[in-house]
Amino acid sequence: MKTEDTLKDVMATVLGIVADSINEDTSMDTVEAWDSIKHMNLVLAIEEEFGISIPDEDAANITSYPLIRLVLNEQLKGK
């Protein structure tokens, strides 16, 4: 599966939303269930799924799908 699709699946599972509904506008502001606790679970789930470690300074800031994808791709490149 493509990285983006896996990422959408993980976000959908953790946030309890439909994967197909995730797009460039999906963010903490547009998804009601995406609170700070769910955000933490999301970071943990992404780290485990892709075998990466998201730096602490990024972890709090990646609050939208495009931002998560950006940081994820950077981390995967550095792996």
Partner: protein, 592 residues
Amino acid sequence: MSETDDLIALLTAPGTTLSRTISAVNALEKLTEPQRRVRIGVSSNVSVDLLSVFLRKYALLSGATADVCMGNHDDPLTDVDQFTQADVEQMVFLPFFDNLLPAFELQLELLEPEIVAAKEANLRARYRLVFEKARKMRQIYACSFHRYTPAVDTGVVNPVSRALDRFNEMLRSEAAAFPNVRIIDTGAIVHQLGAEAAFDPRFYLRNTAPFATPFINELARRIVAAARGFNSYFYKALVLDCDNTLWGGLIGEDLIEGIKLDPHSYPGRVYWQAQQAILALERQGVLLCLCSKNNPADVDEVLDKHPGTVLRREHIAARQVNWTDKVSNLQAIARELNIGLDSLVFIDDSDFECNAVRGALPMVRVLQVPKTLSDYPRLLSEICELFLAGGISAESRSKTAQYRQRQEAVDAIAQHETNEQYLASLDLRVQIARDNAANLARISELTLKSNQFNLTTLRQSPAEILQRIDSDSGTVYSLVVSDRFGNAGLTGVVLVSWQGETAKIDAFLISCRVIGRGVEFCVWPTLVEDSRRRGCHVMEAEYWPTEKNAQVADFYDRLGLPLVAEANGTRYYRAALDSFTPPLIDWIKVTQ
């Protein structure tokens, strides 16, 4: 494999990621018929949101579904109220030591001892209130305190360790007053995983969420083990193969000099240590049995004469050492001990035997001695957990002697002309106690594990029994049975509710160890007399069918209670006390 099997395999596999765990739990809950649904509340002073996912996971792996409610932040008294209103029957109480005050472990280096002592006293009072308020809950899993920050080794005991010991002592002593509180040793989880894997400082600082997923997973696993998979199992006997399980090598070929079993060399010490662990289980009340393809004399020679043997003949409650297949032998062992096959844990080194038993007797828990011997100790810990994590009562300890007495009594029957003569020769005595709180744990245990002679199979936690004992509207009767062969212990329970003019028998159960001697009839004159004294005119009783209690379907008919209705196998009985005379059992001496 079915979809359910696939999901279970995914959840049991090591390394399944968080996201896949969440999807598998969601999917499996949709596929599982909720035969057993448990409601669990979580009350903590830190954020442990993911505990919900992992409690649901281990519930599903035990065949139950769990609804988990998260409490407020550090507000256990309100949590208990809210949980009670939501019919939550079990609560996880998880106070995190370092967050009792902000960065408590760092502060401890600076705080005056009086302040720490005041904090301890304040928490003691608070926990007592919480446990008091929650005393009607079925079970509370109170997590002990553990260290979060690494300790600098200064060569002396530091204030954090000292405070941890004191606070844990405080928690344990408060919990000890409440039969429904079970301590979960969280320090053991940190020890097992290592602090690096157990904690995530990033989210502790940002979200007050200190635990990493491995810790939460293991905590949930231990809680469900302590609940015996939410009462999905209750193992009573460990059935052991001999060759390459209790010793290395084959006794039939290597002979007594050749088998590996001694404390001082490899691989003999692996088996010697295994025998130590197994004998320790016997001391805790687990019945040990042998199921081995060997000549009985060869096995006896090891148990009697081998210098390294820890297990002796007197530790074995039942044995099938012969050349018959193991499936038949396990069935014979269950029959001999009068327990269900689902009460057996079977351990063997052979793929063939393990698969044969798994295939034919899926209710038997089958465990295989690992091919890599250094993994054997881990399997033994797993076995200990299966038997002991649910708790043990003093009465349960060293049951083998009681079962052996029973076997001797069975042998004695042969020497008497009639069964009545035999029973009279036994010198049977039954002591009936009312509302004896000292035996609370044993009474509850008997209601949780008795299946066959159990009229309603009403499972009662220690807290529920205590409630009945404390209440005026009910009485808990317990029976202690003894005969000239020995004391069988507390082996019968009757739960009665006094409902105006009616004495209602909520539960009646007798341990299989003592049935067939009239014990099941001898309590009824006392019950009738007590009912009259309380002003009752009517006695009501019910039989609720299960897969295992068919043998008592007609018990109340035999007792002489009139059947008034029957629906879906449930049988309702009702008798006017004036016209009900229980059968007289003149060979049993009843005392109160």
